[in-house]
């Protein structure tokens, strides 16, 4: 059979094998070429990955360094250094917003190594309303000027920044950025640096940095604001404290002054009352002095006319001593009135009322004024007895003057002493017609008098109120009762 002939079947098999081998070789060659291309791509990706990893690591380190700083100038410095040393741009400038000049002023720069260029860029000032910045206010993430840009507004900045290609990132609020970060390259050296392009990788790196720095600056500004607010609060508190101290001091001084005035007024009142007392003493001594004079004259006359018996002498001496004793008592009462109170003591009120009335007895007698004292129990007061006498004297003298002035037919002063609600009450009333309604609210005010400048000082009742209410924590009131006035002391 033809088909069984080995010579005829061997040739096609060999040809077939060679053909297959050639095809396999070609296929292998194609595969190798694909592998070589893939390997090339792999190396490229690997390199990109390394660059990205390095960048992230360095960005992390930057973040760590800057997160611990509270110095915004340091953030600016570190950022421009980072851009130049790690992001491979040739140059970086930080411009900070200045409210005073309505512009952005250079505050940190790196990558400018010629002193003349450093000087120029350090003085850089870009007005807020520079047209090329307007896209940032409108929310643009960045401004880009590439080497082949022709946009007039951006091109004009080249010479000022000494950068042929650059990126500008706003930091802080977009509508009114707190700072601008400018990065880029000069024309001569761009080839050795990261080019300014719209490439995703390049912008990603800068975007990451701008995001980080922007948030650091925002935090820093917030911290600064808080710190300023805290300082202001502290200053306000200090001012308030100083004002309070001044005020307290003034109040203290005013109170001291008032107390001093009170003391002076009380003293004046006392002196006024003392004048009254001296008049009383003079009056009360006139009659006993007359008596002593008569007794002495009688002694002389009797001696001349009938001689002095022992019994007569004894009788005359006895009567003279009685008169002198009465006069001495009057002096004692007067001295009691002027004895200064040093501290509060508990005193029986009835005794004080009695002493006070005795001081005025002569004067009351002259004017035919009758006195009544009605006492319930034996009330006591814890206070200053001399000052209390002064109060009683003032009220009683006022009653006397009113009774006299009104020509009251049967002048009468009634004093009631009793206890009410745990308090001692002394009420002194007269029948002199009472206090007119229109002046009742004013009679306790200082320098208010109805007696005229010759007779009244206007401090008597004010002094009484001060003594009772301030010094002895009581209450002094007045009201009209029946046909006269009633002064009520509650302590």
């Amino acid at each position: 059979m033809k088909g069984d002939d080995p010579t005829t079947s061997r040739v096609p098999v060999k040809e077939l094998s060679i053909d297959m081998l050639l095809r396999e070789k070609e296929e292998l060659s194609r595969q190798v070429k694909r592998l070589i291309k893939a390997e090339g791509k792999l190396y490229d990706y690997q390199q990109e990955l390394d660059v990205q990893l390095k960048e992230y690591k360095e960005l992390y380190e930057l973040n760590r360094r800057l997160s611990g700083t509270f110095d915004i100038e340091n953030i600016f410095r570190e950022t421009v250094t980072y851009v130049v040393q790690h992001l491979e741009y040739e140059r970086a400038v930080f411009l900070r917003r200045s409210e005073a000049s309505q512009s952005y002023l250079a505050c940190a720069l790196d990558g400018y190594y010629d002193p003349a260029e450093v000087g120029l860029v350090a003085e850089l000032e870009i007005a807020h309303d520079t047209p090329c910045l307007s896209p940032l206010s409108a929310g643009a993430e960045y401004l880009i000027c590439t080497a082949d840009s022709h946009l007039q507004a951006l091109v004009e900045l080249r010479a000022r920044l000494l950068l042929n290609e650059y990126l500008i990132y706003p930091l802080g609020s977009h509508s009114y950025p707190h700072a601008l970060l400018v990065v880029g390259n000069s024309a001569d050296n761009a080839v050795f640096h990261r080019r300014v392009t719209e490439s995703r990788g390049s912008l990603l790196s800068m975007g990451n940095l701008a995001g980080l720095v922007s948030s650091l600056i925002a935090n820093q500004i917030l911290l600064e604001k808080r710190e300023r607010a805290r300082e202001e609060a502290k200053r306000a508190e200090e001012k308030y404290r100083q004002l309070s101290e001044v005020l307290e001091q003034r109040v203290r001084e005013a109170v001291d002054e008032l107390r001093q005035k009170d003391k002076i007024m009380i003293l004046q009142g006392r002196q006024a009352v003392m004048g009254e007392m001296l008049s009383n003493i003079a009056h009360q001594w006139r009659q006993p002095l007359n008596m002593v004079a008569l007794l002495v004259q009688d002694l002389q006359m009797t001696s001349k006319m009938q001689g002095l018996s022992e019994a007569f002498i004894d009788s005359t001496v006895k009567r003279t001593l009685e008169v002198i004793s009465q006069m001495s008592k009057t002096i004692d009462d007067f001295r009691y009135f002027f004895r200064p109170d040093k501290e509060k003591v508990e005193f029986p009120v009835a005794e004080i009322i009695e002493k006070t009335l005795s001081l005025l007895q002569g004067s009351f007698n002259i004017h035919g004024i009758r006195t009544e004292v009605a006492q319930t129990g034996h009330p006591v007061i814890n206070g200053y007895p001399t000052e209390f006498v002064q109060v009683l004297l003032n009220i009683l003298i006022n009653a006397r003057d009113a009774l006299t002035a009104n020509h009251t037919l049967h002048p009468l002063v009634s004093i009631k002493l009793f206890t009410e609600g745990g308090k001692t009450v002394v009420s002194i009333s007269d029948n002199a017609g009472g206090v007119p309604e229109e002046i009742r609210d004013k009679i306790f005010e200082p320098y208010f008098t109805t007696k005229g400048p010759e007779q009244g000082t206007g401090i008597g009742l004010f002094m009484c109120k001060t003594i009772i209410e301030k010094n002895m924590q009581g209450v002094l009131t007045v009201r009209n009762v029946g046909d006269g006035a009633e002064f009520r002391i509650e302590i």
Binding site: K37, Q47, D50, Q85, F192
Partner: protein, 396 residues
């Protein structure tokens, strides 16, 4: 005194600050007041004049040589950035360093070799140890240079050449060579080391072929016009994403060309000499490499292999330790291809590899290097240029 060596580095962007920082660190680490010689490697982002001037001022005007790289290397640090500088300060009564330079090399590498030999010849002494070359990596063609240099120098045994091709971080605009106060491009900065010392070195790449053999069908010098009868770029386009029109420098890092290693160095180097395609012409479809080829030369397309790179560094370490014996190096210079850095390794992997090598040879040694556009180091007794390679020279 022996030999005092200190290394400093800085990644600061300000050239004055960076230069001062690196130089001061070097002086401090070496305990040196006035160095006899200074090596400097830096990257191209700096104002080079300011940088070098600052280093010169800080190192009391000591003779200085070096170049720009794609990155800088010191102990535990490999920074591939546009802003990095490392300085090695040396004070020695055992070793002498004489530096010369050739400017205006252009594309005439052979002439540059002759001119350099003329500069070196008067300085040659019997105890000459090696030459360190820092050459513009954008215009250099090694083979005619070496041939002219060695022939013009007339040294009885060729001086071992070590060094690297200056880089500019793929900008392919301008690389810089440093010679004292001078900074120039398209030139060679050369250091002749003489005295009592030796060099233990290791060289290794980490590339593997990814296809079958190809053949150069049209070439001239270091330009390959056609491969297998088609424009060179056309032959390569299937291996690169989006064709060859963009990011040429990075794309060619993933691919390189491998040539059969000459028999006399095959044992020490391995099967392939690796070449980086430093330039291309889209219109004519050719590529340029850093050594000469001829029509009919076989070539393979190679790719970098991370495992091979790791193993290769271990081999470098073994080679050096084998040569050192019990001697401790005074300092180490490393010339590492930029295609073996961040473009292939993760940052951590890269540092780990470097540390591993440094720990093997000496983690306390003054160590300086740079990422280059090409590495120069002898295989056996033949000085070669390499690509995708690490050349590590330990001076002891």
């Amino acid at each position: 005194m022996g030999t005092l060596v200190g290394v400093g580095c800085s990644l600061h962007k300000n050239p004055v600050y960076a230069g001062k920082e690196a130089a001061l660190q070097a002086l401090q680490q070496g305990g040196i007041t006035k160095p006899d010689f200074v090596f400097v490697f830096a990257t191209v982002g700096y104002n080079q004049q300011l940088l070098i001037q600052t280093i010169r001022d800080t190192t009391s005007g000591a003779p200085l040589s070096g170049c720009s790289g794609e990155g800088v290397i010191t102990q535990g640090m490999a920074a591939e950035t546009n802003f990095g500088v490392c300085v090695m300060a040396i004070a020695s009564d055992e070793l002498r360093f004489a530096n010369v330079r050739v400017k205006g090399m252009g594309l005439q590498a052979g002439l540059a070799g002759e001119r350099l030999a003329a500069e070196v010849r008067p300085l040659l002494a019997k105890d000459a140890i090696a030459c360190f070359l820092f050459v513009d990596g954008l215009v250099f063609d090694f083979d005619p240079f070496r041939k002219a240099f060695e022939e013009s120098l007339g040294h009885e045994t060729p001086l071992p050449l070590f060094g690297g091709l200056a880089a500019d971080n793929w900008a392919t605009r301008k690389t810089f060579q440093y010679h004292d106060d001078q900074i120039f491009s398209e030139g060679i900065s050369c250091v002749l080391m003489s005295g009592s010392g030796r060099v233990a070195w290791g060289v290794n790449h980490g590339c593997v072929p990814i296809g079958t053999r190809r053949t150069i069908t049209r070439s001239k010098g270091n330009i390959i016009y056609e491969i297998d009868g088609m424009p060179a770029l056309e032959a390569l386009k299937d291996y690169v994403e989006n064709g060859s029109e963009s990011q040429w420098n990075k794309l060619t890092l993933n691919l390189c060309l491998g040539f059969k290693t000459p028999e006399h160095i095959k044992k020490d180097y391995g099967e392939f000499l690796v070449r980086y395609m430093m330039d291309k012409d889209d219109r004519e479809g050719y590529v340029t490499i850093q050594s000469d080829v001829t029509d009919g030369t076989e070539l393979w397309i190679l790719r970098r292999d991370k495992d091979l790179i790791r193993e290769g560094l271990q081999a470098v370490s073994r080679q050096i330790r084998g040569k050192l014996g019990n001697h401790k190096p005074k300092f180490v210079l490393q010339f590492e291809c930029m295609g073996r850095g961040k473009v292939v390794f993760r940052e951590e992997e890269k540092i780990e590899l470097l540390r591993s090598l440094q720990e093997d040879i000496g983690s306390d040694l003054p160590w300086i290097g740079f990422y280059s556009y090409g590495e120069i180091g002898p295989i056996a007794s033949y000085s070669c240029i390499h690509n995708f390679t690490a050349v590590v020279a330990a001076i002891y």
